[in-house]
Symmetry: C2
Subunit: 344 residues, 2 copies
Amino acid sequence: MATAAVADGYTVGVVGATGAVGEEIVSVLSRRGFPVKQLKLFSSARSAGKVKNTPLGDITIQEFSVPEARSCDYVFLAVDGDFAKEYAPQITQDNGPVVIDNSSAWRMDPDVPLVVPEINIAAAKGKKLIANPNCTTSIALMALYPLHKEFGVKKCIVSTYQAASGAGAPGMQELLDETKKYVTTGELPSNKVFAHPLPLNVIPHIDKFQDNMYTKEEMKVTWESRKIMGLPDLRVSCTSVRIPTLRAHSESITIETEKPVSADRAREVLRAAPGVKVVDDPLNNQYPMPLTATGAFDVEVGRIRANDVFGDCGLDFFVCGDQLLRGAALNAVLIAEALVKQTA
Amino acid sequence: MATAAVADGYTVGVVGATGAVGEEIVSVLSRRGFPVKQLKLFSSARSAGKVKNTPLGDITIQEFSVPEARSCDYVFLAVDGDFAKEYAPQITQDNGPVVIDNSSAWRMDPDVPLVVPEINIAAAKGKKLIANPNCTTSIALMALYPLHKEFGVKKCIVSTYQAASGAGAPGMQELLDETKKYVTTGELPSNKVFAHPLPLNVIPHIDKFQDNMYTKEEMKVTWESRKIMGLPDLRVSCTSVRIPTLRAHSESITIETEKPVSADRAREVLRAAPGVKVVDDPLNNQYPMPLTATGAFDVEVGRIRANDVFGDCGLDFFVCGDQLLRGAALNAVLIAEALVKQTA
């Protein structure tokens, strides 16, 4: 499909429309003014038939079916990897619609482009299935890639401060409910979504542990950064940590560069980078924070400073981006926007 | 002084007895069974005269005075740096008592030993004024020093997850009060103690910014690690971040070593290290967390894994220690314990 005239707009499907990412995709389609002719919201049988009030009007949720999904021009998958693995090929086959998949199912498939539009949208050209990166990766790369282009990144060490939204709406709800329980009754927080109670705690464990004792979440930052930036030998180590915040991920990043780097030059480069907001006025208490990055499209970058651990080739910085936006929905919608322009 | 017979025990003064660290010092003196003959609690005029219920009995708080402090054998200063700068010399002069100062006032003075007892207690021998390190530093060094002895640490990159207790009892109270306000009324959190609201937020700013755009808190980790370990050229970069937890600091640490290092060998070394508890069984969801490290004397170390950013000389690990214990009160009391043994 994907052949409707721009004047008419496109039929857009969102699969997993009742989840945190699905809801955010609809919101971003509206905020960005994506040319939607018709919006189809797909969910499991349980939610089907319910009317959902969205920024694009009241829409009756449909149970997902391949033929209905194939009737769209663009389909966003905001569902788990198993679902995406099974259904993405069925939706796209035989000149079906473009599918932008938010799960990790297809990201490392050599035939599937993994795209941050500001970095490698060219890889998506003519493709029917496009993978949206891991949230931590896409947020980090907004700063890392412009710095790489200018200075060359050799080594990258990342420690994350990840919000509950990475575990979806149930994760956010558990954090709020258990926090409320603790601060109002003194009863200790409990947990179902997270491996341990999250309120007032820190959990250095997101996704499954791998043989090398990194988590899969940590390795995604390595694998996906290499693929998106086209740097198969980039040295990356990430420590992924869940903390009690709602929906913006922060990351403390240290890099070693090929060419000498200074904080001033890095700041200049980042100011010119798309999708980045340099928030770096420490003497006026301005630096990236979930408080200010939540709900914003741009990734905040600050605390930019020379790090002499790597002589004159070291830089430290801190990024903060909305996990549901740049980390998911915004990146996905920007891919679709770019494809619309490519085909227009 | 400091000459009373051990059989009798010692007269111990705590200055700043109503603060978070002061209270914890009294608790640790009791938990460790420090030989206290008499406990004197000093505070400002405002609290003087009040009776404080402590694990060592009900004690009437006194207004601080130099002569009263000088009547002690050991004096713990749990007050700000300005106070310590002014009064520490007046208390110790002319063979006065031993003063163990928790502030940063004297830490970098070349004549004042800066001590983590498990590392460099020898530096305290015969000294009247001893500085207790910054909390982030002492917690990190419990793991870093044993690894250094075995493998040689060349580079060290630290990102912290610091609890509200670093800003004292008012910091902890603000976090709890503002969290409660937000989750029960929806009213946005406000702030007086911290630079920004802390509930559900992350603030990459602790202490003042320096000319190099690191904070003083971050530079303390560099300066104090070098002094305590006797490694003036150690390359350290720290990013200090306040997060919404109550009283245990976590730290994500990456090191480059002189000699090749493996996770297994590092784990062995750390299991044999005093003051360290290796909590590193990820497949059973066991790793360092504030939930388990709070209230414990030992610093938890886990998520130990080889980091190939530095070839076969890289290691990542995660530490978590009680900010008020290893980060303050416990370290101070252990210094006093060691001095008692030295003089016995």
